[in-house]
Symmetry: C2
Subunit: 259 residues, 2 copies
């Protein structure tokens, strides 16, 4: 038997949208959806049978959870307007700590799903890890119950772990995508479509997860093939990419030289 | 009605293994499998009903195609021993040009599947792009027929395009995996398993392919969030990673500043 809860969702962006629908689908009641833009509040509220509100002071005071699923930049500004000192309020950001909510409540929490959400792409919630944190032990237990409604992968973390988690996600995720962008620019010069890389990248990711990235590494820098590295460096025109190619190759070479 | 062919496969590594089996499954005859290690030749030959050979001079002279699916380093050495001037011989390397086979035949070709192969992982051949090249136009047509047995994604390229293709694959694929390795090392410090990144990385890759990597980019450097970048740089102990973080963030920032 699942517990269900009454939630208030602050935000109507991609994270708010996916979380509101996922909790609604799990039988939770979404009491209110807040957005400072009334039309946005109306739209998401309608989808999850909630009341739309566009003023912080209109927030209900007796929901089980308040999820602040706003853009990172908007969190402090909105938090400052909230004054529900006995409400369990958690934000969904990987960048902010509990202190971002200090003014809003005594019962601050974090409910951070490690995923990139888009409104038009379905997400398998049960595969997503959710990272939780709270000032009070009792609230941590509550957040764990809430997260467990969506996924078995719930991690209780502290601020130190959260910082490493966010750093790792930036390195693995944001930086990879930027390399894909740089690779696409090189492919353009040869009139080759970016999509040709998809099967290779998918398989390398699957292999990296199965064997670990250390063992999944391939390529000229790993093999110590300096003639190819040199040839590529001569081919690259973009000075920023040239430097990145050089530094990344050096970092790979150093990793395997240690063997 | 499919054409079928008689092939000789040189090599018994991951690429040789997958190609031999894929052609065999398409109804081709694998006449011989060559490896300088007799036991390796025996093993793959048995799987595709071929004759194993461990001497170059034992190679049959009348197959339709000879695929040199050896490690990059081994190609010139083996090519030097081959003397089948009228045979269509193609290597499967992304790094070498046609000239790697100049001594072996007048009819040199390249048959390069853009994928990372492992013996123990099944690969959906029909999704893999194959890049072909040949000295003679007629041979290019033949290689195209051969490649089309395995996949609809066949690209005729020249050496200039091949170089950009390989460069792009190194940037997108080898370098990403190295970033995943570096991220895993940071996660270790927080006792978090590498696997927590899998749903995020899979979704980002899917999104990057759907929307293009330019639009799929997220993260502090893209947002211009300098306080997070600074915080991460202070956290990183590994000086090589610190420099990579700095350069990659700068490259992302510059990409979106141009807007």
């Amino acid at each position: 038997m699942n517990r269900t809860y009454e939630l208030v969702i602050l935000g109507t962006g991609n994270v708010a949208h996916h979380l509101a629908k996922a909790f609604y689908d799990q039988g939770c009641t979404i009491k209110q959806v807040y957005s400072k833009t009334q039309a946005n509040a109306d739209q998401l509220a309608k989808a999850v049978n909630a009341n739309p509100v566009s003023e912080i002071k209109a927030l209900n005071s007796n929901a089980d959870f308040y999820l602040v699923a706003l853009k990172d930049d908007a969190i402090p500004e909105v938090a400052e307007q909230i004054s529900l000192s006995n409400a369990l309020i958690a934000h969904t950001s990987g960048s902010w700590g509990l202190d971002a909510l200090t003014n809003a409540t005594k019962r601050a929490g974090i409910f951070y799903p490690l995923q990139t959400f888009s409104k038009d792409r379905a997400i398998e919630m049960r595969e997503i890890p959710i990272f939780i944190e709270a000032n009070e032990q009792e609230d941590l237990v509550q957040l764990k119950h809430l997260a467990t409604l969506l996924t078995p992968a719930v991690y209780e973390i502290d601020s130190q772990v959260r910082t490493y988690l966010h750093l790792s996600a930036v390195i693995a995720n944001n930086f990879s995508n930027h390399l894909w962008y740089l690779a696409k620019e090189e492919l353009k010069k040869a009139n080759l479509p970016y999509e040709i890389l998809q099967p290779l990248l998918q398989e390398t990711l699957a292999k990296s997860m199965e064997q670990g990235p250390y063992h999944a590494q391939t390529g000229p820098a790993k093999r110590g093939d300096e003639s190819i590295v040199k040839k590529h460096l001569e081919l690259i025109e973009n000075p920023e990419l040239k430097e990145l190619y050089h530094k990344l190759s050096k970092s790979i070479a150093n990793t395997y030289l240690k063997e």
